[in-house]
Symmetry: C2
Subunit: 408 residues, 2 copies
């Protein structure tokens, strides 16, 4: 009997490196959770990334013929060490829409969002660092995912939320046994820091106010999206449209494709498009103003999972190096894309539809496959219960039944 | 570029056969949706099943080395024709718990439950039969899954629900554009029949009051659970514990394992255990009384997805032929099993924990791997929002924060 999960962790990670200056290097441990301590200033914060012994990557790592383990074990050489047990994260399907457009359905992950790709990595870092628990500031998918991986690893988990957390998501967080701490929005990061300092819990979300730097290891988990898209399509797509909050997934996609080029498997990185709610758009502002990260006013939007007033340098790197761009999508465009997905059998969260909304706004490139990432399920939406329950219908009144059938 | 979904449908299905008398045979089309018209009487209803040209099954169908399409296409020879487009159903992971116990996590399906394995098949039957829509009586996973596959196939979908449908599930059904028709519980099946008769919509749930017969093709989709468990473990497990309502999944598991034996890939069928809420238990009653199907009084239980007052002959066949048994689990046992799953990183619906609850009640067989099927996610639970939102905490009051951290 072979375990589909129990491949050994044979990571080729060799150290951490600043995105502000790639010559500034650090050892692999401890994981840097506040960005680069050398290149960052009070006004600009640069993240770090993980470097690997690329010359030792097995030549057949991307071959599809062999039976492979599931989950991040599949890509262990190009990931940080997998100290925490997995839940068979990733390996999500690429579903065809019409005209060469593909949906990468990330709702098929262990906690039904893309965040599992990151949290397998960050909770592994917490285990590797000997922490007793993890702490995360999140009102959604990130927190639930961290809670699930912490539970499986036998670590405690604290989730600092705001009062606006949707009720179903609140129950979701508690479902895994996490300590849920709703506080006023502006108090979330100070409390996160206090918990880190007083308990030694490992932070798996951002700690830096000047710009998003997040966990140095986490975005490596998103590289697997690029690896899977490449092996499923048998080629690199023309473009990838990505729902974008802090830009961690966008960066992971870029880095994964760039590694495929570096290792000689692909010719070029696809154009990456970071799709943000028009109510904010810090990445669009950073690109427009030519700065590493921007702060923007944040207006009302129901796309709470990707509504950010501050961005980070990772997204800028991904768009610049891939020759892609930032796309601002309105809530109406998001709702139309969500409806298009549902019509194809994919019930997505409003924020999850941002990739397809961005594609529909820009229009399809003339040739080659295009991938839109859909990040999570409709269960996470803030307006899930807003319409109230379906009205009862009198089964004896056929006209009423027929009207209901026609209306749908 | 190759599509991960677009394998041709090369079904070896040759006809339908009565479970009441295997010598009573019918052509493959039209699909029989009210059980066997020959052997059923007013008091006993027998389902039909699908027969195949087993001598033509490719010898390497169960080999794991080759790259394979995803979804039901992977097993097309042993399924009814796949006329409806897929969503990469199935292929869910087998997650290890301690001591040789494995969780088959069905929440990783397209609509996050096992029902997608059935509905790809039943909606394909509707497409093959030329129907304009499908109709289903369901207050949960079955309805949402039918709605998703109908949407993808361009068919209309009507879901007859009761007033007790959980609010999140109601939104879920409407998310795919289905017509939702809440009616008093006792009116659900009469209205379902009326819609079938007046609109020609294809019924994808049960129509027979004497016992559950359901759709003749549907349970074939559950056979893929057995195929996947076999190929992932590299062997047949000792036992499989299955959340059981009408016994369709139980039957599909038995038939899939029996086919593996018939085709020479496995030595024996594992013991199958049908795990029902103790508040009802029609399968346990049928086994106890030696009848093809039983009606029982149904007491209160929160395991609404598998709470049935009437059973069907499929479950009896599965338990008898596998030398397994029926297990009645209390809501307290279900809640304990749900907590054990959450502790391992799997947030399951209460009903979904019935398999693990059954195993914990009976105790583990002395040797060999054991599989518990977990059918769906915690988002579907009726009591999802019952506890109310998490209370706010004062971030300045460290003692209060610490108490919250300790309590989780």
């Amino acid at each position: 009997m072979t375990s589909p999960l129990a491949a050994p962790s044979d990571s080729l990670a060799v150290g951490q490196r600043s995105l502000g200056d790639p010559d500034v290097r650090f050892p692999l441990w401890p994981p840097l959770t506040e960005g680069c301590p050398v290149t960052s200033t009070e006004s600009v914060a640069y993240p770090v990334e993980v470097d690997y012994a690329y010359d030792k990557v097995p030549a057949d790592l991307f071959a599809t013929a062999a039976a492979r383990p599931r989950g991040h074990e599949r890509w262990a050489p190009l990931l940080p060490p997998l100290h925490a047990p997995g839940l068979a994260e990733g390996g999500t399907p690429l579903l065809p829409l019409a005209d060469g457009v593909w949906i990468k359905d990330e709702s098929r992950n262990p906690t039904w969002s893309h965040k599992d790709r990151l949290n397998r990595i960050t909770v592994s870092a917490a285990v590797g660092a000997g922490a007793a628990g993890v702490v995360v500031a999140s009102s959604g998918n990130h927190g639930a995912s961290a809670a699930a991986y912490a539970a499986r690893a036998g670590l405690r988990c604290a989730v600092v939320t705001s009062a606006e957390v949707p009720p179903a998501v609140d129950a979701f967080l508690r479902g895994y046994g996490a300590a849920v701490l709703p506080v006023p929005a502006e108090q979330r990061w100070p409390l996160l820091r206090r918990i880190v300092e007083r308990t030694g819990y490992h932070p798996v979300s951002n700690l830096t106010p000047a710009a998003h730097t997040g966990h140095g290891f986490g975005p490596e988990g998103y590289k697997t999206l690029a690896y899977e898209i490449f092996t499923d399509l048998g080629t690199v797509p023309r473009a990838v449209f990505v729902p974008t909050g802090y830009g961690e997934m966008l960066f992971g996609l870029w880095k994964g494709f760039a590694e495929l080029v570096r290792l000689g498997h692909a010719e070029a990185v696809p154009r990456l498009y970071g799709c943000e709610p028009a109510a904010g758009g810090p990445l669009a502002a950073a690109v427009r103003d030519g700065v590493p990260a921007a702060h923007v006013p944040l207006g009302p939007t129901a796309a709470y999972a990707i509504a950010c007033p501050v961005g980070g340098y990772r997204g800028v790197v991904a768009l610049r190096e891939s020759e892609g761009g930032a796309v601002l999508v309105t809530d109406a465009e998001l709702a139309a894309a969500r409806a298009e997905l549902a019509h194809s059998g994919v019930w997505a969260e409003l924020s999850a539809a941002a990739g397809l909304a961005g594609l529909r706004q820009l229009g399809r490139p003339e040739e080659g496959p295009v991938v839109c990432v859909s990040t999570s399920s409709g269960f996470k939406d803030q307006d899930l219960l807003a319409a109230g329950p379906s009205a009862a219908v009198d089964p004896e009144d056929w006209d009423a039944v027929e009207r209901r059938l026609r209306r749908a």
